[in-house]
């Protein structure tokens, strides 16, 4: 029997946590579960709450995801990271934000706290603290003959989000990459503590702008789970349309950008045009190019415009044949394949251990897709092609995107041709008790988790968003090892992790 399930089977879940159970566990069970993660279960998230630390997971013989919670004692909690490295950065973030020490943690350096806030543990004790030089950070030492360091960032050369990469190279070959993130930390966990629902949904929509639809989708579903209601059928389908348009637009942008970094600007130019067509159609149909703030608890804020279905259908009909040609050019160009094949390999065992979602996981043999595996509406009962490749290189991540674009095009067309009639929004029912809800949706980069607690007043007492990037960033460090420095942009683009979604 799987030991995670064994630890939970004797426990009674806490009341009013939906749709999956949450268990309050003691330190021993917490540690035992941590020891099993990576092989016997997937870590889905780890975040702080007043006096507690929560951990979301999946395990082979649990019927669905679950949350386990440990109480903070004497300012600390047993480190999961000492057994399961994917938890290390999350624990460093909990310590920076709440001041709770992960006891026994292998890495005690701060992560999000660069010494610039003027306050220590802002969501915990919140003591005033002197500012320190943010450059004062101990990168892990790398020893060896002929090694040199290349520091890059936080301000990068392109129109990109900020972050710092410290390369240790031997000639042109990368011996090690260490990331330092947190530059765009905006205090989102704090802004999502004791806040009106309407304000919370605006903040959640801006966790990572490129995944705004998916974030709002997950938030809405978490509120709906907590309050025990569903959006009307037409709203469900429109949500699906928006989510897939977001996926198509982002994948088109990524495929183009990857080829651009392999010196093939032609594909980039064409993908840019196609992406633009999709965004213009979204604007015509829903009034916002990125479809921000449209998905809310209970449904969507506006119905598709009168000529919106036509605008989207026309755009997709233009995209489909052009995209097929782009794919053919990609597939027929050896000089391009020469750059993308066998570059930036993520080993399947690492993808599995880190429970990496999206194209990073699926290009390395991990076949999880929340749309299929957690089948939420409107994906319930929809046959979904989940591409799973095993090469784990840049090329495989491109191909996962290509196949997903094809699937998304079909899904959007299917929904638009069979849109249910009726309202697009249901009122959030009043429930006179605190409730907790959780949702996982498949964003374009992978599974995105939202957990929240709603007070009886309807205010959001606490909400946490975990972007897919959290478990993908560390794998980029592994992917670049042994590659040449010049291939880093290519590898980085093939991941396209969110800085903002990670830093929160």
């Amino acid at each position: 029997m799987d030991r995670i399930a064994a630890h939970l089977s004797t426990l009674e879940p806490v009341a009013q946590h939906r749709p999956w159970p949450r268990y309050q566990v003691d330190a021993d069970a917490w540690t035992a579960i941590g020891e099993r993660l990576g092989e016997g279960g997937d870590l889905m998230g780890l975040w702080g709450d007043a006096g507690h630390v929560h951990l979301a997971l999946r395990a082979a013989d649990l019927p669905g995801p679950a949350v386990v919670t440990v109480a903070v004692k004497y300012g600390g909690f047993p480190s999961i990271g000492r057994h399961h490295p994917a938890a290390i950065r999350l624990e460093r973030a909990v310590r920076d934000l709440y001041g709770y020490t992960p006891i026994g943690a292998p890495d005690r350096r701060p992560w999000l706290d660069h010494g610039a806030w003027g306050v220590r543990a802002p969501l915990g004790a919140a003591e005033a603290s002197g500012r320190r030089d943010s450059a004062d950070y101990d990168f892990l030492p790398v020893h060896g003959e002929g090694l040199h360091e290349i520091p890059v960032g936080p301000v990068h050369a392109g129109i990109i989000e900020p972050g710092h990469f410290r390369f240790t190279a031997n000639g042109e070959t990368v011996a090690r990459l260490e990331q330092r993130l947190g530059y765009v930390h905006k205090g989102i966990d704090g802004l999502l503590t004791d806040v009106a629902l309407a304000q919370a949904q605006k903040v959640v929509a801006r966790v990572s702008g490129d995944a705004t639809v998916a974030s709002s989708f997950a938030f809405a579903r978490a509120v709906e789970a907590a309050r025990g209601f569903e959006a009307p059928p037409r709203a469900q389908m429109l949500r699906g349309v928006m989510a897939e348009l977001e996926r198509i637009a982002n994948h088109l942008g990524d495929i183009g950008a990857i080829c651009n970094d392999a010196a093939f600007a032609l594909i980039h130019a064409h993908c840019g045009i196609l992406r633009e067509r999709v965004l213009a159609a979204a604007d015509a149909a829903f009034g916002h190019r990125l479809m921000m703030d449209l998905i809310v608890p209970g449904g969507v804020t506006r119905d598709v415009a009168a000529d919106g279905v036509r605008a989207i259908t026309d755009a997709l009909e233009a995209v489909e044949p052009a995209f097929a040609e782009i794919v053919r050019v990609y597939d027929d160009t050896p000089s391009l394949q020469d750059r993308t094949c066998a570059t930036g390999i993520v080993r399947p065992d690492l993808a599995a251990r880190w429970a990496a979602g999206g194209h990073v996981g699926r290009a390395s043999g991990r076949g999880f897709d929340a749309r299929r595996d957690l089948a939420y509406p409107p994906y319930r009962g929809v046959a979904l092609d989940v591409p799973v490749l095993s090469a784990g290189d840049v090329n495989a991540r491109v191909w996962v995107r290509i196949r997903e674009v094809r699937t998304s095009l079909r899904l959007v067309k299917d929904w638009l041709s069979s849109l249910a009639d009726g309202p697009v929004q249901a009122a959030v029912p009043v429930v006179r008790e605190p409730r907790e809800g959780m949702a996982v949706v498949e964003a374009f980069r992978g599974d995105l988790l939202v957990w929240l607690r709603i007070a009886e007043t309807g205010r959001i007492a606490r909400c946490h968003v975990r972007d897919a990037s959290a478990f993908q960033w560390p794998l980029l460090e592994a992917a670049i090892e042994g590659n040449i420095v010049a291939d880093f942009p290519l590898c980085n683009k093939s991941f396209n992790c969110s800085y903002s979604g990670h830093d929160l």
């Binding site: 999000l112 660069h114 610039a116 806030w117 003027g118 306050v119 802002p122 943010s134 936080p154 301000v155 050369a157 392109g158 129109i159 990109i160 989000e161 900020p162 947190g182 530059y183 765009v184 930390h185 905006k186 205090g187 989102i188 704090g190 802004l191 304000q199 605006k202 903040v203 801006r206 966790v207 990572s208 702008g209 490129d210 705004t212 942008g253 130019a269 064409h270 840019g272 045009i273 196609l274 992406r275 633009e276 067509r277 965004l279 213009a280 604007d283 190019r289 990125l290 921000m292 233009a318 044949p321 052009a322 040609e325 782009i326 053919r328 050019v329 027929d332 969110s498 800085y499 903002s500």
Partner: protein
């Protein structure tokens, strides 16, 4: 065969887009902008983009300025990799405390005369992140701002309009001739 394929790829979006009124506006705006940029900067205006805490929504739309539909480069406006080559800093995001020093240094590294454009509601007034311990706030709390382009995020066309407004302001500032 290859040439044929590529040509057909190239042709499709252009022909479909022809009656689009937005395209006419883009060109009109762009050429006005080009005339002013030429007078001030001798045919070119170079922009360095700095994300000082954005959610990346603004970056997506700034990126779009470079695609074949908006193609700002045909008007002499170009994004550069180094602040040392820039006339304009295009800054997004509520400035986070963790990015404040980097923004100040980027500003210091940009040669005079220089202009700062705050792009988006966050850069203009902190947006939904107001009140957080982790953000300094609007860009003008950190470096002097010449122009705000609001929107969440502003559309690419609005970014182009904003750049014109900037040049109007700059014309008033820089002695002509």
């Amino acid at each position: 065969m290859r040439t044929l394929l590529l040509r057909s790829l190239f042709a499709a979006p252009v022909t479909i887009g022809a009656p689009d009124p937005a395209r006419a506006i883009i060109e009109e705006l762009g050429f006005t902008l080009a005339a002013r940029a030429r007078r001030l900067f001798g045919r070119s205006l170079t922009i360095r983009e700095v994300d000082a805490g954005s959610c990346n929504g603004c970056e997506l739309e700034i990126h779009a300025l470079n695609n074949a539909v908006y193609d700002v480069e045909r008007f002499g406006i170009k994004f550069v990799a180094s602040p040392r080559h820039a006339d304009v800093l295009l800054v997004t995001g509520p400035v986070t405390h963790n990015m404040k020093v980097a923004l100040e240094r980027t500003y210091a590294a940009t040669p005079d005369p220089k202009w700062v454009v705050a792009v988006g509601d966050c850069a203009s007034g902190c947006g939904v992140f107001e009140g957080s311990y982790a953000v300094v706030g609007a860009v003008d709390n950190v470096v002097p701002v010449d122009l705000h382009i609001r929107g969440c995020p502003p559309r690419p066309i609005e970014l182009l309009q904003g750049l014109i407004a900037l040049l109007d302001q700059a014309t008033g500032r820089v002695p002509s001739g």
